[in-house]
Symmetry: C2
Amino acid sequence: MASKHILIVPGDGIGQEVTAVGKLVLDKIAAKFGHTFTYDEALIGHVAIEATGLPLPDETLEKMRKSDAVLFGAVGHPKYDNDPTAKVRPEQGLLKMRKELGLYANLRPIKLFDELLGASSIKPEILKGADILFFRELTGDIYFGEKGRKNDGDTAYDIAEYSRFEVERIARKAFEAARTRRKKLCSVDKANVIETSRLWREVIQKIAPEYPDVEVEHQFVDATAMLLIKDPRRFDVVVTANLFGDILTDEASQIAGSMGMLASASIGDGTGVYEPIHGSAHDITGKGVANPLASILSAALLLDISFGLKAESEAVINAVDKVLKAGFRTRDIADQQTAADKILGTAAMGEQVL
Amino acid sequence: MASKHILIVPGDGIGQEVTAVGKLVLDKIAAKFGHTFTYDEALIGHVAIEATGLPLPDETLEKMRKSDAVLFGAVGHPKYDNDPTAKVRPEQGLLKMRKELGLYANLRPIKLFDELLGASSIKPEILKGADILFFRELTGDIYFGEKGRKNDGDTAYDIAEYSRFEVERIARKAFEAARTRRKKLCSVDKANVIETSRLWREVIQKIAPEYPDVEVEHQFVDATAMLLIKDPRRFDVVVTANLFGDILTDEASQIAGSMGMLASASIGDGTGVYEPIHGSAHDITGKGVANPLASILSAALLLDISFGLKAESEAVINAVDKVLKAGFRTRDIADQQTAADKILGTAAMGEQVL
Ligand SMILES: CC(C)[C@H](C(=O)O)[C@@H](O)C(=O)O
Ligand SMILES: CC(C)[C@H](C(=O)O)[C@@H](O)C(=O)O
């Protein structure tokens, strides 16, 4: 029986609503399987700025370091988006957390629950069976390089940077995952134009012989953006840089029917962080309609990856599957066939899964 | 009656095959409408490297400068893609051409011919009526900033850069185009993380009041990658930076059924260049199966934008429409309903349009 300490970091917007449901699911698992989970809570993002002036207070970081895993919500607020000159921003908290905790690998599994085949804008016959695992590098690239202004503020610049070491450690994680799946790895870059991409491709080519059982292909990011929609089933494991991963995984959310279904795990040197790939979604905040399934599935990833509790993780995924099979939907995954009384809000959907 | 000089630059791979067809269409238009088009041809890309050692020989650049418009094919060769250390690459020719000719605005119209509704992997009811005009900035960003290696080659870097001037001139073109369409402009950036994007957003916000009839929205690039598939009809004109435009327009090709249907115009300070958005596609080169419609539609854009010949341009588009209505398809846009004898190769498809 495991005894674990979990930090809940809801963050901004619908992060609050969905993480609350994710936590209930963890509670239920603890009770059912006889584990002891203790919890604490901490601030990040806009709510942290409001309370402390900082997007990632030291106290939050301390608590993260001391926890066995973090269940995370979302950060962001429209106020900052419309003010490009803001000096303190919620996203800085997220980026600092990733850097400070050494969360260099962001795993984003894209898998369509069969019941949601109709919810996607992509044709069911193109989607059926699609199952992709993204490895997005999370602590390098243009996100963390020097940036600033020159010429009296009239010119802006951002530096993208990667070292061999940074590429190699995420690449190895992706190769190893491919081994346990369909043994295909697609590395995505823009090596025909960008130097960091050339280094990226060099490193992949160099270590590939150590994984002779894995079939490797290289694709340009523009072609990949196209192929993900045209033929999603051709992909198994995809590994890519931070910025390309940001764009491609949001795009790939359409393969799973909705962003509201997708969970992610950020892992690396220490505590792992588990979060939905959707954002703070202030347009629907407080309305009780947000889809909690991404947070629930993040909890499932947490149980599996940070605690090694496979059966518990599968129990969560099966519960979600059952609820979908029973026809229950949140608004974002409902389609014309969904009866009005099967369209649930955040809490009611959580209830069903519990 | 116009008298114009057109430079044909087929480049690599299927560029040769499709551009030959595009030229035939220009010939036919000249004959039918009583114009005099004279032609010359020049090398770029891999074929230029083989012949001269340079991806863009001075002679080609000279000829481009002296022409009234350029009909362009594609550049690229797998040989270089798999050698990240190659010093001379076909793509350098393309990038140098864009820079030297000041082609800062790349227009990519994404419009679905109704007959191809079935050819896309996206559901017809999501696609029907989608009509997007992309303005991709083409001479700045991470494509043209300093790049290189440090730490004995163990670290690679690329600098992304934009000046106010560069953002403003492409933004104004996009605002003006929006005025002639549905009066909506979506500016795409990653202003929550990247400094060049913050400058980008600042400039758009600053000039927006000069176009009070145009409704402006700002979207992050990751959200846009998702929304393009989820709800393509929400977009009218989209303006974005070079790298984001590269990725998003390839993705958006799926809205039009196939990359083989999409034309682009690169315009700026001097001669305009017209080319398919597809690449050199060496996997199908020489097989005579490449779709020539993107090159034909590039010729239509050339007639319209560089020569102001609207009726001639429309005649080309109508011919393409008629051929599609008659059920003819190249392989890439055929679907299960297409009869085998209606699936044509490059030359036969060209014949039908002529
Ligand atoms: C909020 C933003 C900074 C973040 C990112 O770009 O990494 C988000 O889009 C994500 O994917 O987690
Ligand atoms: C070939 C490559 C350098 C080019 C680009 O990235 O601009 C191509 O993808 C394009 O979109 O024209």
